[in-house]
Subunit: 144 residues, 2 copies
Amino acid sequence: MNGPGDALAWGRDGLLPVVAQDERTGEVLMLAWADREALERTVETGFAHYFSRSRKALWKKGETSGNVQRVVEVRADCDGDALLYRVEQTGGACHEGYSGCFYRHLSGDAWAIDRRKVFNPAEVYPPDAARPATLDTLRGEPEE
Amino acid sequence: MNGPGDALAWGRDGLLPVVAQDERTGEVLMLAWADREALERTVETGFAHYFSRSRKALWKKGETSGNVQRVVEVRADCDGDALLYRVEQTGGACHEGYSGCFYRHLSGDAWAIDRRKVFNPAEVYPPDAARPATLDTLRGEPEE
């Protein structure tokens, strides 16, 4: 197969970290992961796709919530081991209801929230939807 | 030990990906990695520290080039497995001489450069300095 993935330095697990950035505001929305298929689907469809490490599956951002990301541009870093999706974000990127996932900043030793929610997660996710752990519920186990 | 690292979901390798963003321009400068020590040194000193996966060592950004990053803010994502450093970048962030490492965008199947260098790497790195591989020289092996 030939494609843009050929030049990249995929990790041993076949993944690369992907930064998603709002192309209008510049906000760093989230960090996720892509395998070759996710990158190919992103390029083919124009919508951000990722690989879920916890579910071990291809994942179209917004497939449940409707909060899709139209990808304006895909960028790669100097050594080809990270990607940047510049996107138009529908709704908010974060499953917690914020525009982006980095809604906490370090204040002393605490991670304090300094953003406001832009949507109500209860309105866009089904009640039984599997949702990732958040910082408040973490017990030190690796989570996605 | 108590500290901001306690709440984070460090990977099995003890690392988290860190996005560095220019706090003035919003440019995503680079993606690197931090262990607990790197985060602590960043918070203590106010300058970005990372963990080099290839050298397996703590690394102060700019220690060789002088292109340091003063960290204005440290942010964490919703599930505590990614960090964002918002920085004032001296010179440029990329060892190739660009303001940031994401100086290539996907154009068809090719990664095309659409940025101009802001400094000459030959002037800020010693001739014998070990420098990471770039996309042009990659042979598919994971590199940092």
